[in-house]
Subunit: 387 residues, 2 copies
Amino acid sequence: MNTVAAVADFRTYPLISALNGVQRLADRVLAEWADGRVSPFHHAWLRDNCPCPQCVYSVTREQVFEIVDASSSLEPAAARIDSDGRLLIDWQDGHLSRFDPGWLRAHAYDDESRAERLAAKPRPFLWRSDLQLPVFDYAALMNDNDALLHWLLAVRDIGLTQVRGVPTEPGSLKAVAQRISFIRESNFGVLFNVQSKADADSNAYTAFNLPLHTDLPTRELQPGLQFLHCLVNDAEGGESIFVDGFAIAEALRREDPPSFQALCDIPVEFRNKDRHSDYRRLAPIIALDALGHVAEIRMANFLRGAFDTSVEQMPLLYRAYRRFIAMTREPRFRVMRRLNPGELWCFDNRRTLHARNAFDPATGARHFQGCYIDRDELLSRILVLQR
Amino acid sequence: MNTVAAVADFRTYPLISALNGVQRLADRVLAEWADGRVSPFHHAWLRDNCPCPQCVYSVTREQVFEIVDASSSLEPAAARIDSDGRLLIDWQDGHLSRFDPGWLRAHAYDDESRAERLAAKPRPFLWRSDLQLPVFDYAALMNDNDALLHWLLAVRDIGLTQVRGVPTEPGSLKAVAQRISFIRESNFGVLFNVQSKADADSNAYTAFNLPLHTDLPTRELQPGLQFLHCLVNDAEGGESIFVDGFAIAEALRREDPPSFQALCDIPVEFRNKDRHSDYRRLAPIIALDALGHVAEIRMANFLRGAFDTSVEQMPLLYRAYRRFIAMTREPRFRVMRRLNPGELWCFDNRRTLHARNAFDPATGARHFQGCYIDRDELLSRILVLQR
């Protein structure tokens, strides 16, 4: 059995520490590592994760065994370390499981191992107006997977990037986006054209200023990444403005805790409506993850429905909303740049709010194209590039 | 000003009850309705929701006014009911707002109005093995918007439907799906072919039995609707099996509360991996909404990663997981049918778990096509059809 098949995965798991010993207890096995760590593994967990070809189909590397088909009182008849350093379990029902020590250590669930994995998770780098804008080169990221990975890590962790040297033919954005994955379609299309239109079905398609917002807050899952590619920009005005919504939310948490809490707790409805669609989504403006970190911002004043909360809470919600919007207007948070033809923005649409100054269509043409990709596709692409 | 422009919406708001009187208090206006209800509206709320053409762009019907641009101490100079029965507010800064009484009543946030709206929300109809399968006719739903709406309401509320009379040319599914919206693409394509393949990148593309599961639990947002369209079904076996995941979760809540709670609280990782992608998502198997109702099931044993919870919680998680899987196998919950050529399943992929019996490719060909649409698109389509 080779190591890859033995872990039922496309990753490799380096040997952090060898298995030194193994003890059998009533409901678990204790694995003792050369570096002194002791990791308990319950019998059910070990049987469930058996990587043998009977339990995992070798072509798809997906499990065919289901733990409910094993007795809940199943126990090892024997547990030992084999000559290759693997944990070997002889089950009472005759099944045999072998565990690669690199894989086992990577999935150990003793407190220390879990804390290590938690600490290794990437955390966002928060920024303000003095951000050194991360700029990437089109030719490099189209041709070189290392350059691509470098860009995608910046998108993931900083949430605002610019790419230069992009062709200005309409549709060129598609090839850039597809270096990551397929594009997420919406009712505005696969690629959308950001131009001032007489029959606009969104304020984005006017020459108005657009206040700081996330796109499609009206959907259950806001698009993860947004691309905006400049083809023509001869009009006066129309500068792009960005703020780090996570940085603002964290500042709000410090400076006005009740307002922060109100935006986490009270759901707000966002609405997109035209003759052909009617999207509505009720959700708080600030979402936290299980650890209390700010995980998402949902905001577009022009797509917001009437607040619908109790009479008692309404004044607090208005205070919090005013405060948050006022903060998005503060210079300490804002990055403003004019995008030139052949440049594109790629940013985290669930974190980085974007705005546009009003422009004057009488002074010249302005044509941007945009599209979306979801965070799942970004993270998958990063994991594949990191293999 | 006509009524449509005055409510900045594509809906109409019938007059439930006329405005009888209005009282000004320090921070709010009290609207008194003909049926005796009294609805408070805070000054900020009224100014924020002014539907006049200065505040709302009439082409897009999106707000251009931002409440942060009004003083937080802004008050009405006068509030009265005009000769058309509308609430009229003269603001101290000279702005004038007029509110349609139908719109105002539909957005009133006194306790009684909020409770009424909550009670009017659609709730899922839970089912077991004795479900009268909702069956719809292809020609009717393709040509008649009422038939289409009838089908979509069944998809929303029951979560399992069959359509008959569908052409069996490959790709025919696309036209059915597009009666609702664009299709949600995934790494398996826009339409995916469910056939036994030698180089399968998913157990779905083998002839194995597939246990009851949701598709793509490895994504942050599981696809809302799944379509499975039968083109050819000459092989022995391969029957479709469905259970209502919400009904099972509610039964688990009654029959084994600690197991139910564990599946709500303890996140589990699901993984899709092949040579080109590496999707991972950590989330609980049962998700509740803000009111404690079961809102989503996430489950696919063959895509599950190793459980990663504390040593203390691990035995409870295995007990709960075994119990849930065992319940999906109980006859009281299961609907089993063989799908014939020209028939398709359309079901709520976040609620209705589906399974397939093993089939024998040596006995004949079997070819299904599938695709996904998200719940946002379903709900938007229903709202437009209901206008």
